[in-house]
């Protein structure tokens, strides 16, 4: 049966004239096998690709190894008060063009393989005397058996162009000298793994900051995730107690705080906790303190403040999500446990907690990942500060906020890209270990 399988190799070996010709002139296989419109479309794609490669593609690929050599001229324009640049090589644009060209070639290769297989399968079907679907049937099928193609093409294109391509582009930046350091902003070169070595080297300035930021990032993520989870669950259970009056009112009080946009509450918190902000004023007026508490300028205090405020932000979220699940725990479980004489503590540890963990493991992982990448809380609250002289990373900076500072503020693009990759590596390890073992991933098919 191996000979009948629809593969490119078989297509080249056993294909008829049309099938083999389509290795060079794409779409001919379809043209020759009664699918004229599709064949023409595919052939047009090939023409477009050849034109693209001839006009810019080949040039783009050629520039990729050197990333350009021509230095730009820089002239001060007195009238406009800006520097005007004469045309030279712009490595950043060349790199981007190179990456895009690679993607275009990869896309073309996929199309080539698909059309080879398709024309071979058409040929086989004609040989077997089966009917070849005409264009109308094909289009109809796009809304039936092939609906996923119709539905997913645009979203996939969006992801490809605005997520995958930028990501590959940023990753490749990590291996260059693209940085304000040494004036490599316009013309830069490949640099191997030098930046990785620099970041991982504990004795260097950047390396020291990296390990410090990494340690705080992990401490932060653990505190933020688990404190929120435990306290949020406790709150939900207290409100759900049979004896608690006015459940809806309490719930509303807490939910109100998440209904307000997060960036607004965070900015308000920042202002309230300034040396002359409302909290210090309140405490001073009450006579509890004489000097303002330095919430944002003392490193340890700033870290504690951030974790506490994050509790303020996060507990209602957890409460909301947990409430629904708590109410879903089958009542018979509790009945049975009470019959057997289990006390409330035992019931919590033997029934509630295992059930919650079973259901919320994916939520815990997502929130851990979310906290490692929690840009808003840090950036809007402390801005990463306080920062020691000579450092680019502040004492409360997470890897993500440091990445932001390195790229947007400092323009150390290569270092920023390295930090991004390191964040990814850490998250991958955490996620792979836990997520792949979680029940909802394994049993995904079970729901159907």
């Amino acid at each position: 049966m191996n000979e009948d399988r629809i593969t490119v190799r078989n297509a080249l070996k056993d294909g008829d004239l049309f099938t083999r010709l389509s290795a060079v002139f794409m779409g001919v296989g379809m043209l020759g096998h009664r699918q004229v419109v599709k064949g023409l479309l595919v052939f047009l794609f090939e023409v477009a690709f050849v034109l693209y490669m001839a006009t810019t593609g080949v040039h783009n690929l050629g520039m990729l190894p050197s990333l350009g050599t021509e230095v730009q001229g820089k002239v001060w324009n007195e009238a406009k008060q800006i520097y005007e640049y004469s045309a030279g090589d712009n490595s950043q644009q060349l790199l981007l063009a190179g990456v895009i060209t690679c993607f275009v070639i990869a896309g073309f290769a996929v199309l080539w393989i698909l059309q080879m297989r398709h024309s071979y399968s058409l040929q086989k079907r004609i040989e077997r005397g089966e009917e070849i679907p005409n264009l109308r049937r094909d289009i109809k099928n796009l809304f039936d058996g092939n609906l996923h193609i119709t539905l997913m093409t645009l979203p996939c294109l969006g992801i490809l162009v605005f997520n995958v391509v930028p990501l590959i582009y940023m990753i490749s930046m990590a291996f260059t000298t693209y940085s304000k350091e040494g004036e490599h902003l316009i013309l830069f070169d490949w640099d191997g793994v030098n930046q990785f070595v620099r970041v991982l080297n504990m004795n260097g300035n950047i390396g020291r900051q990296f390990w410090q930021v990494l340690a705080w990032t992990i401490v932060w993520a653990i505190f933020a995730t688990f404190l929120n989870y435990i306290l949020g669950m406790a709150l939900a259970m207290v409100i759900n107690r049979k004896d608690t009056k006015g459940k809806a009112f309490w719930r509303f009080c807490f939910v109100l705080s998440i209904a307000v946009p997060q960036f607004v509450t965070l900015m308000i918190m920042n202002i309230m906790l300034q040396p002359s902000g409302a909290i210090n004023v309140l405490l001073q007026n009450l006579g509890l303190i004489t000097e303002p508490i330095p919430f944002w300028t003392n490193a340890t205090l700033a870290r504690i403040t951030i974790i506490v405020i994050n509790l303020w932000v996060g507990i209602p979220y957890t409460m909301l999500q947990v409430t629904g699940i708590l109410q879903n725990i089958p009542g018979e479980l509790y009945e049975a446990a009470r019959m057997d004489g289990a006390g409330p503590v035992k019931i919590f540890f033997k029934i509630t907690l295992p059930y919650m963990l079973f259901v919320t493991t994916p939520y815990l992982i997502t929130s851990f990942v979310g906290n490692i990448n929690n840009f808003n809380v840090i950036y809007l609250l402390s801005g990463g500060g306080p920062t020691q002289v000579g450092d680019t990373a502040g004492q409360t900076d997470l890897l993500v906020t440091w990445l932001y500072k390195l790229t947007i503020d400092q323009q150390y693009y290569n270092l920023g890209a390295v930090i991004g990759i390191m964040t990814f590596v850490i998250l991958t390890i955490v996620t792979l270990v836990t997520y792949r073992n979680s029940s909802s991933y394994k049993n995904e098919e079970a729901f159907m």
Binding site: L96, K140, F143, G145, L151, M152, P155, G158, I159, V161, F162, N163, P166, L167, Y169, M170, V238, I239, R241, D243, T244, W250, C253, F254, V255, L256, S257, I258, A259, V260, P261, F263, V264, T265, M267, I268, I271, S276, G277, A278, V281, L282, N285, W312, L320, G324, V359, V369, N373, F375, L399, V400, Y404, G416, T423, F424, T428, T431, E444, M448
Partner: protein, 291 residues
């Protein structure tokens, strides 16, 4: 009925515990509500400036709101509001379509690219969101979408482009709809498209509403992408950047109370949307869990 009797005759220790719990809840509720009350009071504060020597305002006025809505010279709040509204309407329509399409395909159809796609989505989700921001900016620049009114299109694209990666919640919901319903429809000659639009979507009202609202709210609360894309183009500012700017050194003294007013004005509709949406979210989540 034994329980009912027991409830009416609580033991003293139980009563004290109940009292303590209610007091604790009250204290917590005050902590959670206080900042919100404070910002509302600040928005009506008569004294200018960011910091005052009293916790509560000394005088109350409506001027902050009037100035916020009429001052069009420095920070044009009405303009920011329309900008954000336009962006959020477009991106809401597009990304809802993306999210629901992808979720339906992944939940209901089987094709070779399905597993790789889900794994890829998981991997992409692990990269810091704005690691790609700079590169996205360069790509949009190459497309000519970083100047003038085109910034709006750029922002819409940025908010929608990756919507296809956030399918988890709605896919989970679709998964809980019994497949036998689809099969019955197929036997009656329905196509996949008809099943999607006439059966699955109507059955998924909570999750559709949830998706629409999250997509609508996103542009109002994001300020990182908007800040990078708009840079100094004050004409194109969204509400979030505008409010953020009001707290920067050069504006804070003049604009602080207006910031509070703006925060209140923006928060009210979003809070209403959120409280409304939360019901559907909980419904959607429990739907996915029950299966």
């Amino acid at each position: 009925m034994d329980n009912q009797v027991a409830k009416n005759k609580l033991s003293p220790s139980r009563r004290i515990a109940n009292l303590l719990i209610h007091i604790m809840l009250a204290v917590l509720a005050v902590i959670w509500v206080l900042p919100i009350v404070w910002i509302v009071l600040t928005s009506f504060r008569a004294e200018a400036g960011a910091y005052t020597t009293t916790f509560l305002p000394q005088g109350y006025t409506l001027d902050n709101y009037i100035r916020l809505l009429t001052d069009r010279n420095v920070l044009n709040f009405p303009k920011m509001f329309t900008n954000t509204l336009i962006i959020s309407i477009f991106s809401c329509v597009i990304s809802t379509f993306f999210v629901l399409s992808v979720s339906y395909s992944l939940s209901r159809m089987r094709f070779g690219f399905r597993r790789p796609y889900m794994n890829l989505a998981m991997i992409l989700g692990l990269f810091p969101g704005f690691m790609t921001m700079i590169a996205q900016y360069f790509i949009l620049k190459a497309m000519g979408l970083t100047e003038g009114a085109a910034i709006r299109i750029g922002l819409i694209i940025v908010y929608c482009a990756c919507a296809g990666l956030t399918f988890q919640i709605s896919k989970g919901f679709f998964d809980t709809i019994p497949k036998s319903i689809d099969e019955a429809a197929f036997i009656d000659g329905a196509t996949q498209w008809q099943v999607f639009t006439r059966i699955t979507l109507p059955l998924s009202k909570p999750i559709v509403i949830y998706t629409v609202m999250t997509a609508f709210i996103a542009p109002w609360v994001d300020f990182i992408f908007a800040k990078v894309l708009c840079r100094a183009n004050a004409d194109q500012f969204t509400v979030a950047i505008g409010l953020w700017n009001m707290l920067q050194k050069e504006y804070i003294y003049q604009w602080y109370t207006c910031f509070a007013a703006g925060a209140v004005l923006i928060s009210i509709p979003i809070a209403i949307l959120f409280l409304y949406m939360q019901r559907f979210y909980v419904e959607g989540m429990s739907g996915a869990v029950k299966g």
